[in-house]
């Protein structure tokens, strides 16, 4: 295939991946890597590099909108970024050492987890206990805008959330995805933040986390300009269209369809990983 045709096809594929990723809140990386490896036969290391860069683009591009709404909690985000950036460095160094079939298999499992998480409705159980000592020292308890005016919220289990975030960082650095599913899980289930706060804060963190491993990937020659160009431009365009549609489309139905697609992709990744060398 000539570079011209290849670039155009990848660009179109990336628009769709970015659109679905932003519509469902899972991010473009989760679709773009299976698309590149399974459909276009790209080596997973190039795919990871390209995806990581597009993750930074979508997260940073969306930040302005999130910030204006006043949901993101900068202090929670910044504190947890210690965990995610150190995790992302560890993940990137791990990726340099692991065989590609192993990475494909891990990717398959993470995809399945994401499909599972996105198929279930999120259950909002706020942190009802009194403000804890750690949360007070770290000044994390805050207010957020609701239809009834500003409402205050507390933060639970900070050490557990911090641990989850370290794992999210490793996954992000190892696989080149934003790992928003794990980040949101940490903030919803462990720290018990209101949805809108955890979603906005997770977006805030995704770009910084991805930047931590992107430097390593760039230095090690994983970020190929010819491939990353259409991926980044496509995902960015697709996700900005998706963000605009969010207020009208029936997301629940789409979410279910998307989960099925992700599940099928996960099986493919596992199959190619096992066939590619783990069983030999």
């Amino acid at each position: 295939m000539s570079i011209l045709i290849f670039t155009i096809l990848i660009w179109f594929g990336s628009i769709i991946a970015g659109f679905l990723g932003s519509l469902t809140g899972l991010g473009g990386g989760i679709v773009i890597i299976p698309l590149l490896t399974i459909v276009f036969g790209v080596d997973i290391r190039y795919a990871i590099g390209a995806s990581l860069v597009s993750v930074i683009a979508t997260s940073s591009g969306a930040a302005a909108a999130y910030v204006k709404e006043g949901f993101s909690n900068i202090r929670i985000g910044m504190f947890l970024e210690i965990a995610t950036t150190v995790g992302a460095l560890a993940g990137a160094f791990l990726a340099l050492r692991l065989a590609t079939p192993v990475i494909a298999v891990i990717f398959g499992f993470v995809l399945m987890h994401s499909a599972f998480v996105s198929s279930r409705p999120r259950d909002e159980s706020l942190c009802s206990s009194k403000p804890g000592r750690l949360a007070t020292i770290l000044k994390m308890n805050n207010v957020y805008p609701t239809a009834q005016g500003l409402k205050s919220y507390n933060v639970c289990s900070i050490p557990l959330g911090f641990g989850f975030m370290f794992v999210a960082g490793i996954v992000s650095g190892l696989l080149g995805i934003g790992s928003g599913a794990i980040k949101v899980l940490a903030m919803d289930q462990a720290m018990r933040l209101p949805f809108k706060v955890s979603t906005a804060t997770s977006n805030f963190m995704i770009g910084v986390t991805a930047a931590a491993s992107a430097g390593i990937y760039l230095n090690k020659g994983y970020i190929d300009p010819g491939l990353t160009m259409p991926v980044m431009l496509g995902v960015l365009l697709g996700s900005s269209i998706g963000a605009r549609q969010l207020f009208e489309a029936k997301t629940q139905k789409l979410r279910t369809v998307f989960s099925v697609v992700i599940f099928v992709l996960a099986i493919e990744m596992l199959y190619s990983g096992f066939k590619g060398g783990i069983l030999k």
């Binding site: 295939m1 000539s2 570079i3 011209l4 045709i5 290849f6 670039t7 590149l36 036969g41 790209v42 080596d43 190039y46 860069v53 930074i56 683009a57 997260s59 940073s60 591009g61 930040a63 302005a64 999130y66 910030v67 204006k68 006043g70 993101s72 900068i74 202090r75 910044m78 504190f79 970024e81 210690i82 950036t85 150190v86 460095l89 990137a92 590609t100 000044k139 770009g207 910084v208 991805a210 930047a211 931590a212 491993s213 992107a214 430097g215 390593i216 760039l218 230095n219 090690k220 020659g221 994983y222 970020i223 300009p225 010819g226 491939l227 990353t228 160009m229 980044m232 431009l233 960015l236």
Partner: protein, 127 residues
């Protein structure tokens, strides 16, 4: 730090940082697009090969190498410059947050943010 005035200043800073991020993304996407046009014009009819992994040439992997490629007006050099700007965008956000926390005299968060910044810079400069 809980007065209304502080909250407002805080929110203004956040909006400024949000706009900074969006500007960073738009600028870097434009540079990538520009480089892409040059690249496609020069190499559009060569064969695409991403099936076999070979590391990207060294002069497209480091800040100094990328600058040199841009100087010689290579399309891929411009693409990498755009990507470098993109990676720098969240790093700039973290750096600006240090000022924001310092203005609020929040030493704890100045330190926390510095740690994050050091990790990010280490990643970008590691060999």
């Amino acid at each position: 730090m809980n007065t209304i005035g502080d909250k407002l200043a805080n929110h203004k800073m956040e909006i400024f940082i949000g706009n900074l991020l969006r500007a960073g993304v738009i600028i870097s996407a434009s540079v990538v697009f520009f480089g892409g046009i040059i690249y496609i014009f020069r190499h559009g009819f060569a064969l695409a090969n991403y099936r076999v992994f070979q590391r990207v040439p060294v002069d497209l992997c480091s800040v100094s190498g990328i600058m040199k490629s841009v100087f010689f007006f290579r399309g891929r050099g411009f693409i990498q410059l755009g990507l470098l700007l993109l990676i720098a965008t969240p790093i700039a956000r973290v750096a600006f947050s240090i000022f924001a926390f310092a203005r609020q005299r929040d030493t704890l968060y100045v330190i926390i943010t510095l740690i994050v910044l050091i990790v990010l810079i280490y990643s970008l400069l590691s060999r």
